[in-house]
């Protein structure tokens, strides 16, 4: 391995990441708690109700951030997969492993919050709206990712296979989204458009912004927690994990 990559490997080494992330965690946890707490109270109590939807619109403060992250999470996973395929970096594979169930959980939340928002707004829990349908396909993509990893008994092969799948999915997601949009415009059911951010009142929009930022921080926090657990699981036989467990020279 060429010398210029050595720093990259040291930084990307699982124990190095484990130690460094230990310092970040408290800050991330405090930031996530503060942002989500403020956004939650602001959105639930202080933001004015929507003129047409009344108070049910307050679901937006969950639904929109979670939907953003559901999609962004797939790209995080695919980027980690690409790094793993190109540089054969173990840490990237661990991040990818951690990102799949996390993304699936967020996608599920996006669908759930959309459904219970749909009932008072459209009078039904489920409509084949373009955005909801795309989200459903995204959930399937995540579930495929999780299932593929579980199918392998060999972790090294599983990592590379999942990386290929994530990259193929990344090429496909824009096509899927566009095609579903096109399909929806073809059928044109008469429904209210859910969110139209530019026309939102600033008093409603500001807490949403806080919640979005809060959820991004929360995502980073959980991704790191999961990656750390994955690191320990895979390196449990190594000296540094034994030292950590025995409480020797670690923080």
């Amino acid at each position: 391995m060429a010398r210029k990559w050595q720093w990259f490997h040291r930084l990307g080494s699982p124990p190095g990441f484990y130690r460094a992330s230990g310092y970040w965690l408290p800050w991330l946890a405090v930031a996530a708690a503060l942002l989500l707490g403020v956004g939650l109270v602001w959105g639930l109590v202080y933001a004015p109700p929507d003129a047409r939807q009344g108070n049910s619109f307050r679901i937006i403060y969950i639904h929109v951030p979670v939907s953003f992250l559901a999609l962004a999470g797939y790209y995080v996973m695919a980027a980690a997969g690409a790094v793993h395929l190109i540089w054969r970096m173990k840490l990237a594979d661990m991040v990818m492993t951690a990102a799949a169930p996390l993304g699936a959980a967020l996608t599920f939340l996006a669908l759930w919050s959309g459904a219970v928002w749909g009932k008072p707004t459209w009078g039904t829990y489920w409509v084949w709206d373009a955005r909801i349908t795309s989200m459903l396909v995204l959930l399937f993509l995540y579930l495929g990712m999780v299932a593929l990893r579980l199918g392998f008994s060999n972790r090294e092969a599983a990592g590379r296979a999942c990386a290929v799948l994530a990259l193929v999915g990344t090429v496909n997601i824009p096509i899927i989204y566009k095609s579903v949009d096109w399909w929806y415009s073809l059928h044109q059911p008469a429904t209210i458009r859910l969110t139209a951010a530019p026309s939102m009142h600033p008093d409603m929009f500001k807490p949403l912004l806080v919640m979005i930022v809060g959820f991004y921080v929360f995502y980073a926090l959980v991704l790191i927690l999961n990656t750390r657990a994955e690191i320990l699981a895979r390196e449990r036989r190594t000296g540094w994990v034994r030292d950590l467990a025995a409480g020797r020279n670690q923080r």
């Binding site: 395929l85 495929g144 593929l148 296979a161 290929v164 799948l165 193929v168 899927i176 399909w183």
Partner: protein, 231 residues
């Protein structure tokens, strides 16, 4: 020691294509099964929803496309797995020929054995489901392109799961979401034609997807095979 010459790309592609067609012919009973499935399940539709022609006409494009999708998916499972079981896949992976080329040869054979016959059978199913005359041409053109994409993406899924247990279900789970755009454009070409509209748009998009799949899927499947072989 004189070394024999390395066969060219065309010779490599041709040899594998020829082999797979030869195998399909020797085991034609097996190759015909997805086609029988295709016809049989379509025959169940009127039994399930009732024989009114108006209803069948409405369902026809979607039904024929979904059956074609399932038919190709059934066969994608065996695409690489048989070669994996008898060890021939090792020869493919260790050939000095580029692996994507060999994948392309196998996909071509798969399409010729499964996708093309399904496409050619589809007018028959259109008749069974009371598809109006205007729908047949877009159905044929759309399925020609669509089954090619199904085979290409099926190859990626088949390569990822080549060594795994519970393969066929997992393969469907991986590949079905990727089939969504093809299904959308394919069915709407037929629906729009039946409604008297233009079909250039969806068919052009289908062609673009097929071109993209042709450019990307062989490489993805080759990378997937190198990982998947070690399940």
């Amino acid at each position: 020691m004189e070394t024999p010459e390395l066969p060219g790309l065309a010779a490599g592609f041709g040899a594998l294509l020829r082999r797979d067609l030869q195998l399909a012919w020797r085991q034609r009973g097996q190759a015909v099964n997805p086609l029988i499935f295709f016809v049989m399940v379509t025959a169940l539709v009127p039994l399930a929803v009732g024989p009114e022609p108006a209803l069948l006409t409405r369902l026809a494009p979607g039904m024929v496309w979904i059956m074609a999708l399932l038919g190709t998916l059934l066969a994608a499972d065996a695409l690489f797995h048989e070669d994996f079981v008898d060890g021939a896949l090792e020869h493919l992976v260790l050939s000095p020929q580029p692996l994507w080329l060999l994948v392309l040869a196998k996909v071509t054979a798969h399409w010729l054995v499964i996708g093309l016959p399904i496409t050619l059978l589809s007018p028959l199913l259109g008749l069974m489901l009371a598809l109006p005359d205007a729908g047949f041409m877009p159905l044929l053109v759309g399925l020609t392109l669509g089954t090619l994409v199904f085979s290409l993406l099926g190859a990626v899924g088949g390569a990822l799961t080549v060594a795994l247990g519970g393969r066929s279900v997992l393969l469907s789970l991986l590949v079905l979401p990727l089939y969504v755009p093809v299904l959308i454009f394919g069915t709407s070409a037929v629906t729009q034609a039946v409604a008297g509209g233009g079909i250039g748009g969806p068919l052009a998009l289908l062609g673009a997807i097929a071109a993209l799949a042709l450019a990307v899927a062989p490489f993805a499947a080759a990378a997937a095979l190198r990982a998947g072989i070690d399940g």
